[in-house]
Amino acid sequence: MTDATPALSPPSSPRLTPAFVIGATLVGLHVIVGLITLFWAPYDPTAMTGGRLAPPSLAHWAGTDRLGRDLFTEIMVGARIALAVGIGAVAIAATIGVTIGLLAAFASRTVDDVLAATLDILIAFPTLLLAMLIVAASDGASLGTAILAIGIAASSIVARLTRILARRVLAMDYITAARVSGTGWLGIVRIHVLPNIWPTLIVNLALQFGLAVIAEASLSYLGLGAPPPNASWGRLLQEAQATVYTAPFGAVAPGIALVSLVIGLNLFADGLRDVADPTRRRR
């Protein structure tokens, strides 16, 4: 966070803050690496390519794991998995969350109260815990269930935010005017509500993306995520912890990749907020 942005910057030209540029660069790097692994990787991610638990070298930039697989390749593939889970989970969270949030905002008082109370309880549970339960409720851990579980778990947060934002818009005089002039509720959503709430929603979804990446890593660390041979960062770290006495570097490298992506997403969201809301005063 920079302290320099003056309170009275002209609203016409959204400023790209350093945070935004750094964030976008970090995220972009991960996206590029993830896309590259679709066509090419230094080694076959499942092949034994060298000695077991070898330290970093020119041939193996991040060393090898306990089966002799190239860790740098696995980390690269991990970026693809993290991004896929993040995109999928955020898409699910946005779809479910925005729908429920809008319904609650439009619903009668009683329905809204029940929905709001349920959301409050769901939010009291950490996303990870809910995702754990949902993974447990499905037949077995896979990439799909991880995406679904994290998406559903995060949707309560999106729903609550949507509900609050939508209610604020619905209290405006121009909504009454639209109603009087005969606009249906779908029309009101499309013309008035969504355009007004999306800037805040997008910022929140970017933050949810980062949380989803952490949640996915945690799930696979706990053995509830994508099963091997999917090289999720969480599983890499879990395997590396078992051999931390002989190959400590393996417990560090995947974490750096993970943290750099999440920081990138957080900074990106920060920057997005400034672009989306030029009136927001920064500290």
Binding site: M1, D3, A117, T118, I121, L122, A124, F125, P126, L128, L129, M132, L133, A136, A137, S138, D139, G210, I214, A217, S218, Y221, L222, G234, L237, A240, Q241, V244, Y245, P248, A251, V252, G255, L258, V259, V262, I263, N266, R283
Partner: protein, 305 residues
Amino acid sequence: MLIAAAVLFLLLRLLPGDPANALVSVGADAQQIEAARRQVGSDLPISAQFVRYLGQLGSLDLGTSFVSGVSVLEEIGRRLTVTLPLTALAFVSAILLALPLGILAAVKRDRWYGGLISVVSQLGVAVPVFWIGILLVTAFAVKLRLFPSSGFPPSGWRDPLAALHQLVLPILTIALVMSASLIRYVRSATLDVIGSDYLRTARALGAGYGEALVRHGIRNGAVPVISILGIELASTLLGAVVVERVFSLPGLGSMLLSGIEQRDYPSVQGVLFISTLMVLLVGFAADLIQRLVDPRLRGPSGGRS
């Protein structure tokens, strides 16, 4: 609370696989399976199961584990002797770490170390709990050999020093993660105080900077921080799952995890029920403390915060 119980119940019933499977061996015939289903009550319709469940909750009977046959309430009590001290000590250390650092980051925001604190705390919120745990293990257990990497003495707290020695790294892990986000809230609460009119007035009336901050700032800045503290404490209680797995501690979280893996409904339900109860209690306590600190919240209109 009732809604919480209902949500938990329904979520758990969605788990596929009959819990009776845990009781019978692989080659059991239909009759044995039927008997097992009767024993765990999964032959009843779902509404009857729910009524029974509520009745048991009312009498604080959390049932017995399908897997081990031990009373769930007793098992939770045993597990809490690990999780509660872990959470409490981590919570206190996080506050001791975050309060001074957060205030410093706000007051000295123009100095390099003020900025550094902000940046580090920003980094901290992006780091998953388990990676901090692994890094601490790498540094303190593998390299320096100061603390054990995992486990908990089987004798429990009979040897308090040994138990505490085992808990140092887990406590540090939670405290670091917690204080990263706490510092941000303390910092922004302090910034609000610094920018406030009442502080300027106090300064104009001749109070020194530090004096004005201590006399007027702490009480005002504390209110939002306390509600964040409540949320953080609650999520730490529930989030102990990961840390307990990193350090193989026999706490509430590992009970939940193994319960999920073994489809042991009573254990999972019991853990979730007790932790929900604790979360609600923490929220209630945070509300109460806020009212003690801020008289404005005590009025009839301030009741709904």
